[in-house]
């Protein structure tokens, strides 16, 4: 306990320096901005800004990028409540009750509960990371190649299980992503693989480019194809402060949402999106008045908004301790670390304590900033919503194009982004989820490397992964198998489809 306290003091020492406060503020501001604006998410934004972070200090870069991710969770609720459009995918369920509250003239309390719930969840999640990360990193330091390989298998399987839609298609997307990740020079033999004589491909495809194409371009096009009528309750945002009864009704939901979100965030494939869905269905299930849900129940706003913020923050745990990304945003964070020349993994905590603890402390600081940014300044964000999309998307494209082009000052990167944009568009039309593919893409080379090492150490014995002398590796593989079997069971499969259909619709 003393150790944690000591570490947090180091962390706040870093996070509270003026320059890092500025980075946190910029991150939170940008996060809120893209959270409010539908049609651009944290993945595309962080991908866009990655090249720029090269000029910042490692701590500053991470603080800013993290702020974008959890800031977007705050901003997303504003759009969901006032316009009935999720500003972020993780705010989809907030629309259900938040918008109804706004229609009943209670937009203010809905916004306030969402922001305060998120703040509470953010504080709790910060503490959870501080407590849980060091022991996990300790364990991870003992991992050999076979443990890492099995962990990645588990992570990828878990990511597919938690994805929407068909399980087989999600696994296929992962494998496809792994294959795309192998394009470039093979580190062991120096052979150029799948480069087709294109010199630009010899370093592989930057996953920032893939992420921006699959998420950024595809998102913009989806928005352009959709014709929507927006009804904005701008004039009705009065009386921000919730009533006593609102508090009474929502505090338990906030607690439950925070707890559930913190757990689901740590899971591979988890994060903000899954947490908000999970929290909403939990509330509905245990509520004494389930009929009120969808008609303006404040619990239906409080729980998912707390959960998505908690989940967004705890999803940093596997990234920081194991060096394994659990979702696309974390994959980009790893990219940010690598740009700075830091190899992600359990050693980061010991070798760069100021980076690790500074980031954690900044999350708390950032959450405080976000409450200030969101509640008193709500009017400003609402005004933003009246900006038509036809001004927004060319601007977003300009930033994306600059971001990609500046990676290596090469037009070829922009072409690759275009190709993956079309691919992402087609995948969306065929109901193939892009998120598992991005995870596979970043893990492809890592998996091959660890598989090779493990097989070399075991002299080619494929049973090394499930031998009793490697209990951790065995455990991960057994857990993956159980997950697959469980999800394939007809009864559970039906339930899983129901959950996503009911809440996604």
């Amino acid at each position: 306990m003393d150790q944690i306290f000591h570490n947090l003091i180091i962390g706040f020492g870093v996070a509270l320096t003026p320059i890092n406060l500025v980075y946190a503020f910029v991150g939170c501001l940008l996060g809120t901005l893209i959270g409010v604006l539908p049609g651009i998410g944290p993945v595309a934004t962080i991908a866009m800004l990655l090249p720029i972070t090269f000029n910042l200090s490692p701590v500053g870069a991470l603080i800013m990028l993290a702020g974008i991710y959890y800031g977007a969770q705050y901003g997303g609720s504003t759009t969901a409540i006032l316009v009935n459009i999720p500003g972020e995918s993780s705010s989809v369920v907030t629309c259900l009750d938040g918008y109804q509250m706004a229609r009943q003239g209670r937009a203010g309390p809905a916004l306030a509960v969402a922001a305060l719930g998120s703040f509470f969840a953010g504080c709790v999640a910060t503490v959870i990371i501080a407590v849980a990360a060091p022991p996990l990193a300790e364990v991870a330091l003992k991992f050999g190649p076979s443990e890492y390989f099995s962990l990645m298998v588990f992570g990828l399987i878990a990511a597919t299980v938690l994805a929407h839609g068909s399980l087989i298609k999600a696994i296929a997307m992962v494998v496809w992503g792994l294959l795309f990740g192998l394009i470039g020079t093979d580190v062991n033999s120096g052979v150029l693989r799948f480069t087709f004589g294109v010199p630009e491909l010899s370093d592989g495809i930057g996953f920032v480019i893939v992420a921006m194409g699959m998420f950024g371009t595809a998102e913009i096009v989806a928005n352009l194809e959709m014709k929507e009528a927006r009804e904005i309750f701008t004039s009705k945002v009065k009386n921000l402060w919730p009533t006593k009864e609102d508090f009474k009704n929502s505090w338990a939901a906030v607690l439950r949402g925070t707890a559930l979100g913190s757990c689901l965030g740590i899971l591979p494939g988890g994060g903000a999106l899954l947490s908000s869905f999970g929290a909403y269905s939990l509330e509905k299930k245990i509520s004494k008045h389930p009929e009120k849900f969808g008609k303006g129940a404040i619990e239906g706003v409080a729980a998912p908004e707390s959960a998505n913020n908690a989940g967004a923050q705890t999803s940093f745990i596997p990234m920081l301790t194991l060096g394994i990304p659990s979702n696309a945003v974390m994959a980009l964070m790893i990219g940010a670390l690598m740009i700075q020349g830091i190899a992600p993994g359990p050693q980061v905590m010991n070798e760069k304590p100021e980076l690790f603890w500074g980031l954690i402390a900044s999350m708390w600081v950032g959450n405080l900033m976000l409450v200030v940014l969101n509640l008193p300044l709500i009017g400003m964000w609402v005004k933003l919503l009246t900006v038509p999309y036809r001004y927004l998307f060319p601007s977003i494209l300009v930033f994306m194009a600059i971001g990609v082009y500046s990676l290596s000052n090469n037009a070829f990167d922009v072409l690759i982004m275009g190709i993956f944009g079309v691919l992402g568009y087609i995948c969306a039309k065929l109901e193939c989820e892009p998120a598992p593919m991005i995870l596979g893409f970043i893990l492809g080379p890592l998996m091959e490397e660890n598989l090779r090492r493990a097989m070399l150490l075991s002299r080619g014995d494929p049973f090394v992964f499930i031998s009793p002398s490697k209990p951790i590796s065995l455990g991960f593989l057994v857990a993956s198998a159980i997950l697959l079997v469980v999800v394939a069971l007809p009864a559970i499969r039906k339930k899983r489809e129901e959950v996503f259909v009911e809440e996604g619709g």
């Binding site: 192998l182 371009t217 096009v221 036809r390 998307f393 494209l397 300009v398 990167d413 070399l456």
Partner: protein, 201 residues
């Protein structure tokens, strides 16, 4: 045989095709090695066949089981359009290699042709094609013509892919974006972009 789910049919085909491609390409051109010392072909071949298998399962499922929900693929273009677009690029790239012209021009030319064909024959596909074309044009115009013209191409082409296109609005938007780009990215972050075409100094 009747296709029960178009979405699964085409995704199955897509996975099957690319899985086979990766596996066969790896086997043909790279060394397999052994399990102890894996060559560059080992892992991609494994993954390629796994993807082929998964694709085959999805494909079979699309013919046998009827999932709930809309299973029609709603794309504003069909598979033949896609093949034509790829063929246009392929022909131009081969031509550019034969004539010794830089392949950049082939890609730029192909993009312009595909964009024009879309506007004429597939107006519903304007969002995806023009947004993509706009970014590609930006990338390939940057080096020869500089930031201002590249940004203009991006803004005007992509705006043409939206619902409404008003010249006055788009021009104002372009001016704001170019001023911002120059101030923040070129002056502020000192990215090494040429602002104007080279021979203008």
């Amino acid at each position: 045989m009747k296709i029960k789910s178009q979405k699964d049919f085409w995704s199955g085909l897509m996975f099957l095709g690319s899985g086979l491609f990766f596996a066969l390409w790896a086997m043909a051109f790279y060394q397999m090695g052994t399990a102890v010392r894996m060559g560059p072909a080992y892992f991609p071949t494994m993954l390629g066949f796994l993807l082929t298998l998964l694709g085959a399962i999805v494909l079979l499922q699309s013919l046998t089981t009827q999932p709930e929900g809309d299973q029609v693929v709603h794309t504003p273009f069909n598979i033949i359009d896609l093949v034509i677009a790829v063929a246009i690029y392929a022909i131009l790239i081969v031509l550019s290699q034969k004539t010794g012209l830089a392949s950049e021009w082939a890609i730029l030319g192909g993009t312009i042709i595909v964009a024009l064909l879309t506007v004429w024959f597939r107006p519903d596909a304007k969002p995806i094609v023009l947004v993509t074309a706009a970014t590609i044009a930006y990338g390939y115009l940057m080096k020869p013509l500089g930031l201002v013209i590249a940004t203009a191409a991006l803004v005007f082409i992509s705006a043409a892919g939206g619902h409404e296109f008003k010249w006055k609005e788009v021009i104002i938007l372009f001016i704001i974006l170019i001023v911002f780009s120059v101030l923040v990215f070129v002056k502020g972050l000192t990215l090494p972009f040429p602002i104007w075409p080279e021979y203008f100094g």
